[in-house]
C-alpha cells in the first residue's frame, strides 16, 4: 500500500516539475523581452534594462530556471511587481475565498443533482426524468458568463433578493456558487441517472429483490452505493477544474479569490505573480487528484488488492 502511494507521489512530483517548466518558460513565449512585457508601453530602454537585471534575465535560461526552482522549493516564489509583497503570501491570502466558493458550488451541485439523478434513473421516462434531463442539458449548454449575469439581473437587480457584489455574507455566496456549480450539477445528474439505470438492470439487484428486500431500500442502499462510487471520483477531479472555472465566476461577481487575482495580475502585467499562481494552483490540482485516487481505493471494495489486508486469513485453504 505504501509503495503504491510512494509511486504515485513520485509521479506527481514529476508532473509538478513539468508544470514548473511550462509556467517558467511561458513568459518567454512572447516575441521580444519578458521585461518589456512587464513594463508599461513606452518605457525607456534604460528602464527595461534595469528590469532585466532585477529579474535576472541577463543570465542563461537554465540558470534562471534552476535558481527559480531552488527558491520555490524553499517557499520563495518571488515578489509581485504590483503588490511589492511575497507572491506566496498574496496567493495564500486569496486562496480561502476560492476554496469557500468551490465547496459551496460543490455542495449546491450535489444537493440538487444526486437526488434528481436517482429519481430520474428510477422513474425513467417520467415527467421528472424528462424535465431533469432537459435542465441538465441546459446547464451544460449555458455559458457560465451568461448564467452569472442573468442571475445578477434576475435576483439582484429585478427582484432585489441578493446583493450583486461583495463577499461578506452567505447571501453573497449564493449566486457565484450556483454559477460555478451548475455545469457540475448537470454532469452529475446525467451520470447518476445513467448509473442508476445500469445498476438497476444488474442481476444482483434482481437477486436482492428476490430476498424480499423492499424496493426503496434496494434503490437507496444497495443500488446507490454502486452508482455513487464512480461519481465520487468525478466530483473529486472536478475540484481542480473549479480552480480554473472560478476565474470567470470570480470575475463576474468580483469575488476576491485566486481567480480574480490572476486576471487582475494579467492585466497589470504582474507576470511573476501569474507565474507563481499557475505553479501553485496546478500543484494543488495534482495533489488533490492524488488524494482522490487514494480515497477511491478505500471506498471501492474491489480495490482492496492495493490495500493492506490481514494476512492470516489468506493462508487457510478453503474447500470450494
Amino acid at each position: 500500500m505504501f509503495s503504491f502511494i510512494a509511486k504515485r507521489l513520485a509521479y506527481c512530483i514529476l508532473v509538478v516539475i513539468g508544470v514548473s517548466l511550462i509556467s517558467f518558460f511561458i513568459l518567454h513565449l512572447a516575441p521580444g523581452d519578458p521585461a518589456r512585457l512587464m513594463l508599461p508601453d513606452g518605457s525607456s530602454d534604460a528602464d527595461i534594462q534595469a528590469m532585466r537585471v532585477e529579474l535576472g534575465l541577463d543570465r542563461p535560461l537554465i540558470t534562471q530556471y534552476l535558481s527559480y526552482m531552488e527558491r520555490a522549493v524553499q517557499g520563495d516564489f518571488g515578489e509581485s511587481i504590483f503588490y511589492k509583497q511575497s507572491n506566496i503570501t498574496i496567493i495564500f491570502e486569496a486562496l480561502p475565498a476560492t476554496i469557500i466558493l468551490t465547496f459551496a458550488a460543490m455542495f449546491v451541485a450535489l444537493l440538487i443533482s444526486i437526488p434528481l439523478g436517482i429519481i430520474s434513473g428510477v422513474r425513467r421516462g417520467s415527467l421528472i426524468d424528462v424535465g431533469s434531463m432537459f435542465f441538465a442539458l441546459l446547464g451544460q449548454s449555458m455559458s457560465p458568463v451568461w448564467l452569472g449575469i442573468m442571475l445578477i439581473y434576475i435576483l439582484s437587480v429585478s427582484l432585489r433578493l441578493l446583493p450583486p457584489f461583495g463577499s461578506d455574507s452567505i447571501a453573497n455566496l449564493v449566486m457565484p456558487a450556483i454559477t460555478l456549480g451548475t455545469p457540475l450539477a448537470a454532469l452529475i445528474t446525467r451520470m447518476t441517472r445513467a448509473g442508476m439505470i445500469d445498476v438497476l438492470n444488474e442481476d444482483y439487484i434482481t437477486a436482492t429483490l428476490a430476498k424480499g428486500i423492499p424496493w426503496k431500500k434496494v434503490v437507496n442502499k444497495y443500488a446507490l452505493k454502486n452508482v455513487l462510487i464512480p461519481v465520487v471520483t468525478i466530483v473529486g477531479l472536478q475540484v481542480g477544474t473549479f480552480l480554473g472555472g472560478a476565474i470567470v465566476t470570480e470575475q463576474i461577481f468580483s469575488w476576491p479569490g485566486v481567480g480574480r487575482l490572476i486576471v487582475s495580475s494579467i492585466f497589470r502585467r504582474d507576470f511573476p505573480l501569474v507565474q507563481s499562481a499557475m505553479l501553485i494552483v496546478s500543484s494543488m490540482f495534482v495533489f488533490i487528484n492524488l488524494l482522490v485516487d487514494i480515497i477511491y481505493t478505500f471506498i471501492d471494495p474491489r480495490m482492496n488488492i492495493v490495500r493492506e489486508k490481514a494476512t492470516t486469513r489468506k493462508t487457510k485453504r478453503v474447500q470450494v
Binding site: 514529476l14 508532473v15 509538478v16 513539468g18 508544470v19 511550462i22 509556467s23 511561458i26 513568459l27 513565449l29 512572447a30 516575441p31 512585457l37 442539458l137 441546459l138 451544460q140 449548454s141 449555458m142 455559458s143 457560465p144 458568463v145 451568461w146 449575469i149 442573468m150 445578477i152 439581473y153 437587480v157 445513467a194 481542480g240 477544474t241 480552480l243 480554473g244 472555472g245 476565474i247 470567470v248 470575475q251 463576474i252 490572476i262 486576471v263 494579467i266 492585466f267 502585467r269 507576470f271 501569474v274 499562481a277 499557475m278 494552483v281 496546478s282 500543484s283 490540482f285 495534482v286 487528484n289
Partner: protein, 282 residues
C-alpha cells in the same frame, strides 16, 4: 440507404442536433447577404432601443440595439461567424494534432507513448482557462492567437481518446497480417487504424465545438478573446453586461443564441454516440 443512415435518422437526438447546428451554420454563412443594418457602423442616435420584434417588419430592429446603436440581430448573425469559425477551426486543428499524437502514442507504445501521455498529464494539470488566458496575455490577443490557444488547450482530449481506441485496434489480427505482408507503419496507421478510430473522433468533435464556443465566450468576457470591433457572442454578452438593467436584450439575445448552438452540438454528439458507440459514456 444503409443501416447506419437509417439508425441516424431514427435518433431524435441526432435529428434535433443536426438541424439546429445546420440552420445556425447556414445562417452564419449567408449572414452578410441577408443583413439589413450595418454590422459595424455606430449609430448613437439609436442606442439601446428595445426590440421591435416584428412591429416594423424586417427593416426594424427586431432584437433592439446595443450601446453603440448597432442592431443586435445583425451583430448576432455576424458574431456567429466569428464564434463558429473559431470553434470549428480550433476543433479541426486540435483534432488533427490530437489524432496524430494519439495514434503515435497508441501504435508505437513504450517511451513514445509515455512521453506523449506525460506531456498530456502535465498540461491537464494546469486549469484550462488559466493556461489559455496566460498565453493570450503574453502573446497578445488576436483572432489568430485565440484560435491557437484553444487548439493548444484542447488537443489533449483527442489524444487520450484516440490512443485508447488505437490500443484496442492495434492488437487485432488484421494489423498483424498487414505487418507480415510488409506494409509500412504509416500505411497501416492511415488505412487501417484511422478508419476504426474515426467514429469517436467525430463524436468528440461535435461535443468539442460546443465547448470551444463556451471557452471563447469566457475569454471574450475577460477581454482576452475576440477584440473590438469584431463581434462575437462572447463579446456581445460582455459588452451588454453594463447595460443589463436598462437594456437586458443586449445580453439575453447572444446568451440564448449561444445556448441553443451548444445544445445543438450536445444533441448531435449524444445522437451520434447513441448510434455509433453506446458504450462510450464520458
Amino acid at each position: 440507404m444503409n443501416n447506419t443512415g437509417r439508425r441516424l435518422l431514427r435518433s431524435k437526438f441526432f435529428l434535433i442536433g443536426f438541424t439546429i447546428c445546420f440552420v445556425i451554420m447556414l445562417l452564419a454563412i449567408i449572414s452578410p447577404l441577408i443583413i439589413v443594418h450595418s454590422p459595424d457602423k455606430a449609430n448613437l442616435s439609436q442606442r439601446l432601443r428595445p426590440p421591435d420584434f416584428f412591429k416594423n417588419g424586417w427593416a426594424g430592429h427586431i432584437l433592439g440595439t446595443d450601446a453603440m446603436g448597432q442592431d443586435v440581430l445583425t451583430r448576432l448573425l455576424i458574431g456567429s461567424r466569428y464564434s463558429l469559425l473559431i470553434a470549428c477551426i480550433a476543433v479541426i486543428l486540435s483534432g488533427i494534432i490530437g489524432i496524430c499524437a494519439g495514434m503515435i502514442a497508441g501504435y508505437y507504445g513504450k517511451w513514445l507513448d509515455n512521453l506523449i501521455m506525460r506531456l498530456a498529464d502535465i498540461q491537464l494539470s494546469i486549469p484550462t482557462m488559466l493556461l489559455a488566458i496566460t498565453i493570450v496575455a503574453i502573446v497578445g490577443p488576436s483572432l489568430y492567437n485565440l484560435t491557437i490557444v484553444l487548439v493548444v488547450t484542447c488537443w489533449v482530449q483527442y489524444a487520450r481518446v484516440i490512443r485508447g481506441n488505437v490500443l484496442l485496434v492495434r492488437n487485432m489480427e488484421f494489423i498483424n497480417a498487414s505487418r507480415v505482408v510488409g506494409a509500412s507503419d504509416l500505411w497501416i496507421m492511415a488505412k487501417q487504424i484511422f478508419p476504426n478510430v474515426l467514429t469517436p473522433c467525430i463524436i468528440l468533435g461535435s461535443q468539442q465545438v460546443g465547448y470551444m464556443i463556451l471557452m471563447e465566450a469566457g475569454m471574450s468576457f475577460l477581454g482576452l478573446g475576440v477584440q473590438p470591433p469584431h463581434p462575437s457572442w462572447g463579446v456581445m454578452i460582455s459588452d451588454g453586461r453594463n447595460y443589463i438593467q436598462s437594456a437586458p436584450w443586449t445580453v439575453i439575445a447572444p446568451g440564448v443564441a449561444l445556448m441553443i448552438m451548444v445544445m445543438g452540438c450536445n444533441f448531435l454528439g449524444d445522437g451520434l454516440r447513441d448510434v455509433f458507440d453506446p458504450k462510450m459514456k464520458s
